[in-house]
Amino acid sequence: MRFAVVVFPGTWSDHDCQYVLRDLLGQQADLVWHRDADLSGYDAVVLPGGFSYGDYLRCGAIARFSPVMDAVVRHAEVGKPVIGICNGFQVLCESGLLPGVLMRNDSLQFRCQDTYLCIENAETLFTNELTPGQVISIPISHGEGSYYADDATLDDLESNGRVAFRYCNANGEPTPESNPNGSVRNIAGIVNERGNVFGMMPHPERAGESLMGGTDGLLLWRSVIQAGVATVAG
């Protein structure tokens, strides 16, 4: 599968994404500078973590107007996968491809730690290699990851299976104590209505080798690759 990993000024997780996709999973993964406006040669687009444009004004607010974002929107419109991780999730929310917004952590602290995620919908682009209720461990690393949307939006997300997973404890319970940033309803990852645009705050590219503390992140990447293969075959 051909992945474009988009690089904005201030992106920091681009090489980690490329390493996991290319070196660990044997996919094509190219770094694409944000001034490139052509993504037509790629099957999937990854917006990685970081601090695009210094997070000035609001996280992702300036990156949203980069030339590459028109191509990302077109890529999403034709139904191809778009995956936003951390800052990438923030960019997708700012651009309107996903609902809601990521706000300052309720602790006001930058949180860099492992989190447990409970899989809620195992049929999304990013979770089809998992099972509902499965608990996986993926690290977070952010200061502004508190997901917020109004109640009507949240109800819509939940009733349509668009919450992919929530922060939880080791037993899979989404408790207040297991919520690292104050996200409403412990939401950690969501998909758009069509199911091809995916956003999550935790970093699956940092859970690819046991040396790094775990390999659960590979399950998510393998889901995307599996979904891509199915699309091509179909």
């Binding site: 607010a61 700012e94 917004v101 706000m103 309720d106 006001l108 104050g182």
Partner: protein, 82 residues
């Protein structure tokens, strides 16, 4: 030329942990009278415009498109000719 003073504030329904922390700081300084603090952003924008109405239209668009996120924020501004 026009000078706009833009205030971006969190909507009343949105939780503001920064504001709560600042309130705590003020209390610990002895300002027990402080009931509530809401943190926001303040921007000064200098721009050209044919008249006040067109400058006002431009600043409104800036706020809607970039300066405020309508999911969580409200905006208001004052405009004066310089």
């Amino acid at each position: 030329m026009f000078r706009a003073r833009v205030y971006v504030t969190l909507k009343p329904t949105v939780n503001d942990p920064q504001g709560l922390t600042i309130r705590g700081g003020l209390h610990s300084l002895g300002f027990e009278s402080v009931e509530d603090v809401r943190a926001g952003k303040y921007l000064e924008i200098t721009l050209e415009g044919d008249d006040k109405a067109s400058a006002e239209k431009q600043v409104t668009e800036m706020c809607q498109k970039l300066l405020a996120n309508p999911v969580i924020e409200d905006f208001r501004f004052e405009l004066r000719e310089t």
